[in-house]
Symmetry: C2
Subunit: 353 residues, 2 copies
């Protein structure tokens, strides 16, 4: 991937904001979308940032998303809420959900807010991270927006790579932030192997007869594998039930493949949980214990050839620092696509800053 | 494994109760231990049931466990509590924790109760299941009691196979119950391969140089692999932080290997979360949606040679039915060990009923 264009987070935010304003989002919603999508790119979640602009706008044009939703709390107790996204963009729904969960956790100690009639919300870690600013822990679960995974032993694509994310604050160390899909690899990585003409390692995919699929040219005929076999299937399923079925959102055959359908509402479900460490004891002491565990892991004896032990989220944390300094890289093909979009919408194109 | 002895759940409960009474547990605690450990065997969690009696009693004798603990709530808010187990058996601590979480979830919608100064509590699903009787969802996290897993790329055994369990009720279908360790396999399965003189499949373990370890005779020199590589490492770590570090319980090098140390308190940490579906909408409708998702998975097209698609917990559910009817099988070696224990303690031995 060559990326000759690098842009600042601010510039990227403004570009996304202007594009969404032109496509019909209210000003404050366009601003929220700009902030969250640019932050996705800043942390290196480049499969879930500005690369999604054109697919999102395709769904706007197809009528699949409500541009002026009435996002509202429909159920509420001291430590929970259910938010109806009214088919608005998931970013708007889950930002509101997370802010509400933070507020409730301050009082109740722990809170859980689910969504129904939501949409794709970008990378899971965006929302799991939000409580960190309040020295709180975030956990995020979502039903993915395209089914790529069968139940274990099966061939019918009934599950998505339903992700889980968890962000836990530390004192001097970077927060621990896990953001993972429940499959061994993503379709994006399979496509990258295909482009480079490389074979895949055993364990990524299987053929429909259960044998290992190694040639990515045949990926369309195969199945992604869940992590740990039946365990990953189980995880994908319970995440889907907690983020989808509990809220009345889609799971299984009801999931709409938003890459191939621009008009049907997805009824996406998500959930954010917030835990306030202040309820459990001294926050300072908790964060010091976190530092200590983090340092133990990092200082582990290493397998020969391994330069460094990484903590979950540490590489992404480093990208935030690098990209804030050097700009966010926009791959050439994406830069060209976004230039076309700017021309079409009559907004200023992204150029190096 | 041959098991010529089969006993009823009631008989097994009584045996465990009498043994613990003789070894110094208060009557009501001995009764709770009997009920929970026999239930573990009933559901087929035979690595976590009566097989643990002798190791537990070894720790009692070694002074590693407090036989008359003052288990108490030390922190509390509307949707959370922290329970100090006072170094009592984990079963007693986590039963109390789960009952409190159920009570709080009825009011607050969701609740989370953590433990500190606890001990091994048996299979994770025992506690995740308890809310099912109230049509509620349970999630359980624990720090394992022996470190078998290094951080990804490392060689130092700093993590346990920290389990996660989740139980979700359905209407006519059996509840979905996931109970999984974060490693591809357990040491128990490795030992079984060794006993049978079989090789292990690639992906179970690696040598200390990172190459696949296939011969279980050399297992003591190798490392268990986490599910999905760095993903399973990340899961084991965040489960440990949520169940351990948050509560002030041990994680990392502070974890005491209770198989090799009978006297040091383990300071085990666990957490139970309860979600009340009634807060999210009509429980009946939720449970019907669960049935529908379960049936979709089961009816998936299958890979050739696969007879049936299982839901998480379905095989364990079947064992409950079979063992309730036929009795719980006690492997010969275990039966012999328990016979010795009965003689030593002067209680009635387990015999076929």
């Amino acid at each position: 991937m060559t990326a000759t264009l690098r842009v600042s987070q601010n510039r990227l935010e403004k570009f996304i904001y202007e594009a969404f304003l032109k496509t019909g989002l209210p000003e404050s919603d366009a601003r929220t979308m700009g902030a969250l999508m640019a932050e996705a790119d800043l942390q290196g979640s480049d499969g879930h940032g500005v690369i999604r602009m054109v697919p999102y706008i395709t769904r706007f044009k197809g009528g699949g998303v409500n541009l002026t939703p009435n996002i509202r709390v429909v159920k509420e107790k001291a430590a929970m809420a259910l938010i109806d996204g009214d088919n608005g963009m998931g970013h708007l729904v889950m930002k509101q959900a997370t802010e509400l969960a933070i507020k409730k956790a301050k009082t109740a100690g722990v809170a859980w807010v689910g969504s129904v009639h939501s949409n794709h919300a970008g990378p899971a870690s965006l929302y799991a991270r939000m409580p960190l600013a309040h020295d709180m822990i975030g956990l995020y679960f979502a039903v993915g927006n395209a089914n790529h995974l069968p139940p274990w032993g099966g061939l019918s694509m009934l599950l998505s790579t339903n992700p889980i994310a968890c962000a836990i604050p530390a004192m001097h160390e970077a927060p621990v932030i896990l953001d993972m899909a429940t499959t061994v690899t993503s379709y994006g990585k399979v496509k990258a192997k295909r482009q480079r003409g490389e074979m895949m390692p055993e364990g990524w995919m299987i053929n429909r007869d259960g044998t290992p699929l190694l040639d990515p040219q045949h990926a369309d005929d195969g199945l992604l594998l869940p992590i740990g076999g039946y365990k990953g299937y189980g995880l994908a399923l319970i995440i889907g039930m907690l983020a989808g079925t509990l809220n009345g959102a889609a799971l299984g055959k009801d999931v709409v493949d938003f890459n191939h359908d621009a008009s049907t509402p997805t009824n996406t479900g998500q959930a954010i949980m917030v835990i306030d460490p202040d309820a459990f004891g001294e926050v300072k002491e908790f964060k010091e214990r976190m530092d200590s565990v983090i340092q133990e892991m990092r200082n582990s004896e290493r397998i020969k050839g391994v330069d460094r032990i990484w903590l979950p989220g540490e590489q992404s944390h480093q990208k935030r620092i690098d990209y804030a300094r050097d700009g966010i890289p926009i791959p050439d093909a994406l830069a060209k696509q976004l230039h076309g979009l700017a021309t079409e919408l009559g907004i200023a194109p992204l150029v190096a800053n």
